[in-house]
């Protein structure tokens, strides 16, 4: 579905991504793990057109999308749940969801609201509250719900579990599995490598802008090096 080849991204003189290639097959959950500053967010932001790559190519459903503007990519079904949630604080919960469906003008959203509120009953209770007053976990739910309102084919998520209590993290991962079951392809970035690799079909390890390892989720989970570097386990 999504194919990146030999992608380079630089901010001014600093290269953040140095020639990565990766693939997200249709219907899969793929995860990208790596330490702080490895270039994970940069990769996602480049895919959705917020950052221009220096070179390399990105294709989606067989179509070259390397320099397509963000708004058009959203229309094609790519969505990003950004790092740090980024809900619109002054808009109500309901308006935040509505704006997620901004491009689906004129369509009836009743069914979609029902779907999202079934996934996140907490949001329903708070539908009239400004999103800025929600707790961190609730904001994360809202960010995911908002992305789903656009009916994405490919949902990219940048550290959805950041700063959340373990129980809430579990809840978020359950939702990811649920959304995946409904046919959405997922590209997930996580610090929480353990949880991410467990639900992923395939994983890539990113270190200072280069992919150093890639394998199935299960294989990476039992890999010695990965365990030492990202799962906090001592080498034997």
């Amino acid at each position: 579905m999504l194919k990146i080849s030999d992608l380079y991204v630089a901010y001014g003189g600093i290269e953040a991504v140095k020639g990565i290639s990766l693939e997200v097959p249709d219907g899969a959950i793929v995860t990208l793990i790596g330490a702080n500053g490895a270039g994970k967010s940069t990769t996602l932001r480049t895919i959705c057109g917020l950052v221009k790559p220096k070179s390399g190519s990105i294709s989606y459903l067989g179509e070259e999308i390397t320099n397509v503007p963000t708004e058009q990519l959203v229309k094609k079904g790519i969505t990003l749940v950004p790092e740090g949630r980024r809900v619109f604080p002054d808009l109500t919960v309901e308006e935040n969801l509505k704006i997620g469906a901004y491009l689906r003008s004129g369509e009836d959203l009743t069914e979609d609201f029902k779907w999202i509120y079934d996934l996140f009953p907490r949001l329903k209770e708070r539908s009239w509250q400004p999103a800025g007053t929600l707790s961190g976990g609730e904001q994360q739910m809202l960010a995911v719900g908002r992305a789903l309102m656009g009916h994405p084919k490919l949902m990219m998520m940048d550290e959805p579990s950041l700063g959340l209590a373990p129980l809430v993290v579990q809840g978020i991962f359950d939702i990811i599995k649920e959304v995946h079951k409904q046919g959405v392809t997922i590209l997930l970035i996580e610090q929480n490598a353990n949880m991410a690799l467990r639900i992923a079909d395939y994983g890539y390890v990113l270190e200072t802008g280069v992919i150093t390892m890639d394998n199935t989720g299960a294989a990476l989970l039992s890999n010695e090096e990965v365990r030492a570097a990202y799962l906090g386990k001592k080498r034997k």
Binding site: E71, P82, R86, E95, Y102
Partner: protein, 293 residues
Amino acid sequence: MSLTTILQHCLTGISLGGAYALIAIGYTMVYGILRLINFAHGEIFMMAGYFMIFSMASIPWFISVPLVTAATIILGVAIERAAYKPLRTAPRMSIMISAIGVSYLLQNLATYLFTAIPKGYPEIPFLKKIFRIGDLSASLVTFLTPVLTIILVFLLMQLINHTKVGMAMRAVSKDFETSRLMGIKIDTIISITFVIGSALAAIGSILYFTDRMSVTPFSGTLPGLKCFVAAVFGGIGSIPGAVVGGFVIGVVETLLVAMGYSTFSDAFTFLLLIVMLLFRPTGLFGEKSTDKV
């Protein structure tokens, strides 16, 4: 001063305040979305004055009013496209300086094209008709200005709070990137903001100059500054704030003139700005967080 005289001056002040409010909205909306003080806004207002003079020379008022409004909108949006849009990712100071440049450019252009000699502002006959309410008497425009201002502000608030475009405007004013991720074309939304600001400046200009008789290339400077102060006073970024600020400045200025302190009335506006910035920098209805400023 008798009560009637005081009321009479208040009425004049409220009317002036209405025109100020319409212009102040342009400052506050552009600031809200771009975090830019659009120094050229006063000159847009002045140009609307000239547009009206030329239009009314050959076209009746009821066609001139929409025509002048349209021309002012085109001017406002053209300025945004040419002088601000290319600087979207530049530091805020660059775009601010670009705005100051546009302001001087328009002033000099007007001086070159129309000379610095005041040009008589055309009369819309029915607006100058004298009306009486009790002991108060004033021309229709004096009564009409505040009423029209309130109606326009009401419509604008409906647009911003209850329509899809309004929702997009509120979203863009908070977060460009996330707005784009929702599929919102931010350039379109910014242009719409300039359309609204310029249209209100055109209407404000017609109401203001109808009471002032003449336009010069510098006619926009002082009202522009005062309306900017009105926007800061009300809390820049807040539309109700700009409206309250406009009315306060209009009324106080008129009363000071009436009491014989006319030399002091402009100074008052700036005193108000300084006091406000010292004691409540976010203004009456301003946002608490000033992170983006």
